[in-house]
Symmetry: C2
DNA sequence: CGGTGTGAAGAGCTTCACAGCA
DNA sequence: TGCTGTGAAGCTCTTCACACCG
């Protein structure tokens, strides 16, 4: 498949084709009228724009279950990320290989970051250690941090932090699950009301509709 | 602090106070004019609306590093989630306790879900196993799935799936990181141009501005 | 003809500004 | 007086619709 139309891509992605074309147009005019987009060229342009064509050395601090899971995660390599080092505060972990990479002690943190030109750090430590680790990362030159610890990190201007809270997604599911149950109950109540009397459902469910 | 104003909450959250009041108003009129919101009552109402006051039994399928990390994750219990069971396909794992819960074999999946009235399942298996596990969960009565496996799951209507891709957040950081670098380079180029000749930067950077 | 690129219309979300109530 | 709740204005993002080009 050498070319693809905005209509096809939009159907595959579940969005409107006009939106897709408009979004692409911000990257430049890479399509051909009457034909569509050259797949290979488009992939390259999007990859370049997203930074996938670069090599991003990353350090992971805190090699517990989560840190190990991240180190083993295959998705990183394919998106331009390279795990430059695994760092843990436990001296017993030092030297132990995880995902084929030997764990290094926290003492080495500054040197590792400097030697590898690391600008992105991942924090997978317990909550108590996160802020301190964060400060050391920033002081050593890291300007983007992905935080898995359940704490809000404070950082100086110019440093980006993204927080991943594994329970938030569950909470969103639970929210919708609750809605499903509520709607059933409401539908049932309406049915009852229709069958029995003129009284409707108690109407206490507010009109909230999040993503 | 028994009450709090929309202004205070907005400042803490980094949003506009009018937006906060409007959002709250969708849940009902829980504030008092001239005073603010009763903290305890507000917390309760928001918790109830979000479903945090309910008990949600959850099963985690696939007890590798990630599954173990999830099982150990403290944030679940405090948000109304209860890990009803850990399930793995490896018979060697069966009976082994993870986070104090004995791992059970996949054979038990249907029974566990039925016995515990589970409606939310977490998939932390390798990509290859995910779709099959998903189908068994759905057949057994699960209607919400949180998918950590790097695969797109297909499910029947009425089943919610949320996919967590651990590398996407990194990619967003890398994107901004690239922008930072690009802006520096551009600023430098502009400085050069100003200093040397009339020729500007090559102007190939398109005007994209994602979240 | 077929499909992109885009001005214009439309929808939804955010902010303003203030009436109204404790 | 002080702060909520909310109509209206403003803004951004999405979709429509079509000129234009290969």
């Amino acid at each position: 498949m050498p070319t693809v139309s905005s209509e096809e891509l939009a159907a595959a992605a579940g969005v409107n084709s006009a939106k897709l074309r408009k979004d692409f147009s911000y990257l430049g005019s890479y399509g051909t009228r009457g034909v569509g987009y050259d797949v290979e060229y488009l992939v390259y342009q999007i990859s370049r724009e997203l930074g996938l064509t670069q090599d991003w050395p990353v350090v992971i601090v805190g090699i517990g279950n989560l840190g190990a899971a991240l180190a083993n995660y295959g998705g990183f390599a394919s998106r331009g990320f390279r795990v430059a080092a695994l760092i843990d505060a436990d001296p017993a972990m030092a030297g132990k290989p995880v995902a084929g990479i030997p764990v290094q002690h926290t003492d080495e943190l500054e040197k590792i970051i400097d030697d590898n030109g690391v600008s992105i750090g991942v924090i997978a430590t317990p909550a108590g250690a996160a802020q301190q680790v964060c400060e050391r990362l920033v002081a050593a030159g890291v300007t983007s941090i992905l935080n898995f610890a359940p704490t809000v990190l404070s950082v100086p201007d110019g440093v980006d932090v993204r927080k991943v809270d594994l329970s938030i997604e569950l909470q969103i599911l639970a929210f919708h699950e609750q809605r499903k149950a509520g709607e059933e109950a409401e539908a049932q109540a309406v049915a009852e009301a229709t069958k029995d009397s003129g009284k409707g459902p108690d109407g206490d469910v507010p009109a909230v509709m999040p993503a």
